[in-house]
Every structure is written in C-alpha cells, then in structure tokens.
Symmetry: C2
Subunit: 127 residues, 2 copies
Amino acid sequence: MADAPAAVELLVCTTCRAGQPTDIEGPRPGALLEDALQAKDWPAHVTVKPVECLSNCDSGCSIVVRGGSQRWTYVYGNFTGADDVDLVHDGIVKYADTENGLVPWRERSTHFRKNCIARIPPLTIPE
Amino acid sequence: MADAPAAVELLVCTTCRAGQPTDIEGPRPGALLEDALQAKDWPAHVTVKPVECLSNCDSGCSIVVRGGSQRWTYVYGNFTGADDVDLVHDGIVKYADTENGLVPWRERSTHFRKNCIARIPPLTIPE
C-alpha cells in the first residue's frame, strides 16, 4: 500500500482587492474567495488557510499552494474573487494528487497556465 | 548563548534572460548573476544555489530566498544580471540576519521594495 500523501496547504490572501479601488467598503474579493473555498469539498489531506498579504497585490487575488518537502510551491494570481472558486478547486485538487506538485501541462486550466506568478522548488531541489 | 541561525538558501534562476531575445547566444544573465553571487563572501549559514526556472520569466532575473520553518520566503525579480550582484548580496545578508525573514522597510533597498514578486508565510503562519 502506498504511503499517505503529504499534507497540502492552500493559502488564500484575504486582503486582495483584485484591482478594486481602496475606498470600496465590505468584504474584499480575497476574503470572499477564501470563504467560498472553505465551503468546498476537499481531499482529506488538503487544508485551506487564510493569510494576510502575499505581496502580489498588483496581480491579486492571489493564492499559494504548497505540500511538504517533495512538492514544488506555486503562487497563482489574477483571480477575481468568489466566482473563481471552482477554478481554484480544480487546480488544487490536481496539485494535491501529485507527489511533486507538477501537474501535467495538458491537465492545467488556461488560467493556471497563464497566471503562474512564480514557483519555488521543493527543499530537495530536483536535478 | 543564542541558537545558531537557521540556514538560508538563496536560489538563483540560471535560465533567466532578463528580457533578452531568445536567439542571443552565450551565458544567460541569470547564470552570470549566479556565478557572481557564488564568488561573494557570505555569512556561514547562507548558501547560493542555482535553479532552473522559477516561472517568473516576465520579470527575470529572479531569485528566491528562504530560511527554515520560521522565516517568510520571498521571490524578487527584475534584476539585470551580474551587475546586480552587490544589490542582491546586500538584501540577502539583511534577510539572513533576521529570525522571521522580515527586513524592516527602511532597511530595504529601493529595488527590493519595488520588485517583490510574492512572499510566502513560514510553515507556522503568523497570527
């Protein structure tokens, strides 16, 4: 039997404004996206966590996904808010299903292909 | 006596072109920056490592700095190549001197202030 998959964290920036002016009142798009993601059905090894500011403010809403010492970490941006909940869920479920975080290109949604802000290698850097 | 500081890794994208056309021959700006950084004098707990592609190609040359479970990870971009060796060295030495990776704003160079691509919280996410 295979080992249980390493835990995956989806970090959602709750301060992201997604380009809204700074004087708009009410919950921010990032916070609404995080609420919507918390309500989704996730694999048991995935946890959604709110964070304050990933310093990707020009390309928010932003998320980070990471998952133990063997997986690449990814920063994705340019989500519009809660409307993108299924798009994010789809991408993160695919990530969580990998051992190294590398989802095959053909399986990535157009948004994930075009809005990768950066990726960071696992602690053991691949050759 | 204080504990020894956690190890810091400076990851330098050696495939970065810094906006060069794709048909230019010879070593890439990212590889030249990495060479120049390897030749610098670093605190004992800092290691410079080459990596292939941080997926920040539109804003390269790019670096990532990370340093154990207590420090924030940062992605910085828009370096021009080996000319920026002292700029990068200065920023990373300051980072390595912190426990949590947060260099006070007034101590950051203009480049580091303006070219933070993203930051990722430590494994134990601060409140």
